[in-house]
Symmetry: C2
Subunit: 653 residues, 2 copies
């Protein structure tokens, strides 16, 4: 029954030889690889705004409202960072045409241990990509449909299950499936930015009612006196740095193309590099466009207001999760008074779709990296096994469960999850770029000095940003990642040590066949009935001096066995084992241990008869003591258990 449920959900198995990989043209490749990076524009500007709004909230002074204008310079700084990182990754594309993921590059150039740090950071990142993208997608959905608010965790978990199921079915990464949502998102967001700026500069109405109560009196939150000082001097710098750190999530996913160069049509590296350039350009345009529109129209994400007082609610010194996203507010402002107000729903729909698509890419990346790590014997070998539909089942399931747990633990809040997100991403960026610097020093190809410089700038920039994120977001959640990465590295390393040790123990090197091993064949005789006969016969074929054993628990059964034994024994000796505590297992284990103590080299074969009724409920009506015994004996070295089932029907006439 479980099997047929699996067939309905996952589909029928696919033969190994049907695996194939299609090469992608640039336009399709852009859609496939850019969805993760582009989708971050749906939340990056909002995260900057939320961090800045906190400075306003803490200041309790209307003049600080202008702090919100810092969104533009912060956005520009991030664009510069983005261009540096993209240029740096362009070089990885050329240097690693076989695919240059951070794990591979760091391992090859900085050593296995650094590679493991990159791998650990990446694994955590992939889980967070799913959690953050799905949480943001749910936020886009609930912004448009207020009736769905209040159940973010349930909706997000259902979405994760849906994406996981698609991946377990092994949905072909068909170009169209990616192209439509990605290009719809790019087109509709471009239209939003363009038409929004047009309305703004032409003074067309852009009011949006829910924004007005919080725009003015936002700072009217009541603050404990010890919180107010936080906006003075360095504290303000800290909060602005935090806003910058939050915005850096715009860069997540930018490395995707460098991992997937072999999927491009020939010449792979060149095509990949061109696509990377286009992706960076689109990403920059969308991000700065949304940021500038926000700056120009003074839009804000809608925060939940305290009922009655109509002021923004604070929750443990933090702003609460917005009820409506910044993009949703921008779309309302732009289209509500326009001739096509329905375009608001196009924006929200396209945003939700691309965010789900972004989660989907992690469902390809995480299992792939897990299987590579499993092949290198750093992760359990189960991650290497390919499921019915030619996908890495266990990786997909592990990712879905971990992402679901994260969503649940953080109440489905995008903002709270993002505090964990970027620190891992920038760690792997740094290690990958640093690895590239070493790569150039090793290879010394023509003009290697310039290449090394470009990667060095990238590595330094991302390293500085990683530190900024780690410090400014430490208490909000980055500490978890900073603790988790070394812990995960230790786990990966221990797994590796175990596998290495196992293969050493299994190696045939120096193998000498053991000589003169004595075999003891024991057969358990719990009673005299037909179910026991096949076991007796088998024991006889295995050895001429097999020995029968009866554990004396029930006196009536014992005397029945003693009485009738000679009828069926054909000369096999019967040993009665007393069992003062009525255990079947202990006397047999003791007896076997005694045999092994007398002759430590000997092999003991225990034949256990068991009648096996057909059907599930008749199985419940029998003790299956033989199985408990088999399990205990299984763990004693030198013991082999032979379970001889005798199949019977639930009912006979």
């Amino acid at each position: 029954m479980a099997l047929s449920l699996k067939r309905v959900l996952i589909g029928t198995p696919v033969a190994t030889d049907r695996a194939h990989h299609e090469r992608l043209p640039k336009t399709t490749a852009l859609a496939v690889f850019a969805s993760d990076a582009l989708s971050s524009t749906a939340y990056a500007t909002q995260e900057i705004m939320l961090a800045l709004m906190l400075t306003v909230a803490f200041a309790a002074d209307p003049s600080t409202l202008q702090n919100l204008d810092k969104v533009l310079p912060i956005g520009l700084a991030i664009v510069v960072l983005l261009l540096i990182v993209a240029t740096s990754y362009r070089q990885t594309v050329y240097a690693y045409p076989q695919g240059g993921g951070a794990y591979l590059v760091a391992k090859e150039n900085l050593g296995q241990k650094t590679g493991l740090v990159a791998a650990a950071a990446l694994l955590i990142d992939y889980v967070l990509t799913v959690a953050v993208s799905i949480a943001a997608g749910v936020a886009a959905l609930t912004s448009a449909f207020p009736a769905l608010r209040g159940h973010p965790v349930e909706i997000a978990c259902a979405a994760i299950a849906f994406v996981a199921l698609l991946n377990l079915r092994g949905a072909k990464e068909s170009g169209t499936a990616f192209a439509i949502p990605t290009y719809s998102f790019v087109a509709s967001m471009t239209f939003l930015i363009g038409y929004g700026l047009f309305r703004h500069f032409n003074g067309l109405p852009m009011e949006y009612a829910p924004l007005t109560p919080q725009l003015g009196p936002l700072p009217s939150v009541t603050l404990a006196p010890e919180e107010v000082h936080q906006t003075m001097g360095w504290a303000l710098v800290f909060l602005v740095m935090r806003a910058f750190a939050s915005g850096c999530t715009a860069l997540t996913g930018i490395e995707a193309i460098s991992d997937g160069v072999p999927a491009f049509k020939k010449p792979e590296a060149k095509n990949a590099a061109i696509t990377l350039g286009w992706m960076a350009l689109i990403l920059c345009s969308l991000f700065i466009g949304i940021t500038y529109l926000t700056f120009a129209t003074k839009a804000q994400p809608i925060l939940p207001l305290d009922p009655g007082t109509n002021i923004v609610a604070l929750h443990h010194g933090h702003l609460e999760e917005p009820t409506e996203t910044l993009v949703s507010v921008l779309a309302h402002m732009t289209f509500d008074a326009s001739p096509f107000p329905w375009f608001y729903f196009v924006i929200q729909g396209a945003t939700t779709l691309i965010l789900i698509l972004a989660a989907n890419t992690a469902f390809a990346d995480f299992p792939r990296l897990s299987s590579i790590l499993a092949k290198d014997r750093f992760m359990p070998r189960q991650f290497q096994s390919i499921g019915d539909r030619l996908v890495f089942n266990n990786g997909i399931l592990a990712l879905a469960v971990l992402a679901g747990l994260l969503i649940w633990a953080f109440g489905g809040s995008t903002t709270r999850l993002i505090a964990l997100y970027a620190v891992g991403v920038f760690t792997s960026f740094t290690l990958s770029q640093a690895g590239m610097v070493v790569h150039w020093f090793k290879k010394r190809t023509p003009r290697w000095q310039l290449a090394a410089l470009v990667n060095a700038v990238g590595a330094c920039a991302t390293c500085v940003v990683a530190i900024i994120i780690g410090v400014t977001k430490f208490t909000s959640g980055a500490w978890m990642v900073i603790v988790a990465v070394p812990l995960l590295v230790w786990v990966l390393h221990s797994i590796h040590r175990h596998y290495a040790s196992v293969s050493k123990q299994l190696s045939m090197e120096g193998y000498r066949p053991a000589q003169g091993v004595r075999q003891h064949v024991l057969v358990l005789v719990p009673d005299i009935h037909r179910g026991v006969i096949p076991a007796l016969q088998l024991a006889r074929t295995m050895s001429n001096d097999a020995r029968a054993i009866h554990v004396s628990i029930d006196p009536t059964r014992e005397s029945r066995v003693k009485e009738r034994w000679t009828l069926y024994s054909r000369g096999m000796p019967l040993t009665l084992l007393p069992s003062p505590f009525r255990s079947l297992v202990d006397p047999v284990v003791d007896y076997v241990n005694e045999l092994r103590a007398r002759d430590p080299q000997c092999q003991v074969i225990v034949v256990i008869p068991e009648f096996e009724p057909r059907g599930w409920w008749p199985k419940l009506l029998h003790g299956h003591a033989g199985i408990a015994l088999a399990v205990r004996l299984h763990f004693i070295p030198g013991v082999v258990v032979v379970n001889v089932p005798y199949h019977i029907e639930a009912f006979v006439k």
Copy 2:
């Protein structure tokens, strides 16, 4: 670790030969067997009152308050019934000195099927005895300590777990452990009744504040018009009958002595009969005493009042569970203004203790009846097996779980559980008495006609009461028992059919040893390493033409096996099984089925090597594909699986 937890909770195992049974003197036997019956006085009168209070509540007319006075005639009717039943059971004691439980008596005299009905009713009763007694015990506790209110289910489940644990430890049924609570209860209740009546008749103050708001304006509940008519004419008769039915719970447990005659000192029957007489006398006195005190002082159980309006709350047309029991109210009225107000806590303590003791008796009875039914092959044989401490572990656990579920399902409400309780009790009473009538007709001992008449009166009386309970309590819950009893009978009967069928299939009668069975020995070779060698050796000792099998999933492994096979094969042929869908299990199963299809009489022995790392976490790092294969093969007739473990360390230097 699970084992050492078990040792701490349950204790070390006890040897079989340490089982012994002590014979009880009459005074101790009274304490042991009467606790269940006597404990029902803690709630029987209250249940009559609650049923009567409902007639008042529905009438919406202050004059109907006198309906409450019907508690006395109802109480007297129950006392008459009690004497009839006790007299009837006295005869069972003499007729069945070996112990005359309802199952045994009904089975012997009315046939196996009727016996099963009695058994089913009894099993359900024992579960309800635990649930009702514990719920009432918790009510006694929370009456005294209001801080504990609001968590009846949690407290009740903890109490059940505690009693179950004591029973799993096999606490000796020491006389003292029973004598102290039972006699304390009898003594303190007698004092409550005597001193209460003394205060009442001497006009000493007996006010109790929480009683006053509900005494007068009880009927001021607001009723829907369609509910008001219910107190007219026949409806009133119905409600009074229901009050009677509720009070009949006073009789539960009265049969206990007739089950346990062999535990008495010689002459067993006579001593048991005398003890039964005493028990009936004490039970009658306590019950009618409490009932009369209630009648005289106009005491009522305290019902939860609607906050603000101060009137009794109705819940779906029923009264809500009292916040304070009737006995607690009587104790407050009697002792609050007395020189020894602390005696209130003695009453509540003794009540709680005897109710827990009553639950404890069911923990002896249910496993005993289950084991008898298991011996007769009507229940799973697991109920027959004796645990570490010489008790029927599985029966105790099953009872605890079922009673806990009932408590949880009924929110720990005594009143709601009692609606289920009495119908089963009176069914088994009726069957047991009817069985006795048949017994006398069969035996025709001197004066058998009189004996038959006594039992016939008993049977008719309990039958009528069973019908009254079934009808008046049908919608409140009795229907569940009326459905459950035949269902349980069907289950018991099906289990019996299965066991009979199994022993027919296992019988050695007409057995002819099979001749010329061909054996195929297959050994699985997943790879070439030391873990496989012992399996190859064993296969060779089992047959000269053993055959090796490799399932081709991974091409590199396949070529490694093919390449190195000749080094270790010693001439054993190797078969490669293709696995297009990457399954290890399916190709082997197909291959085995093919062998069996060609020669249906043959036996196929599949030797599966498996390396077994020490420790729990290394086990997680290996696929254990061999186990999945072994389980699948286990269910194919004619197949024997031999699992050859190769033990390895988690780490080696």
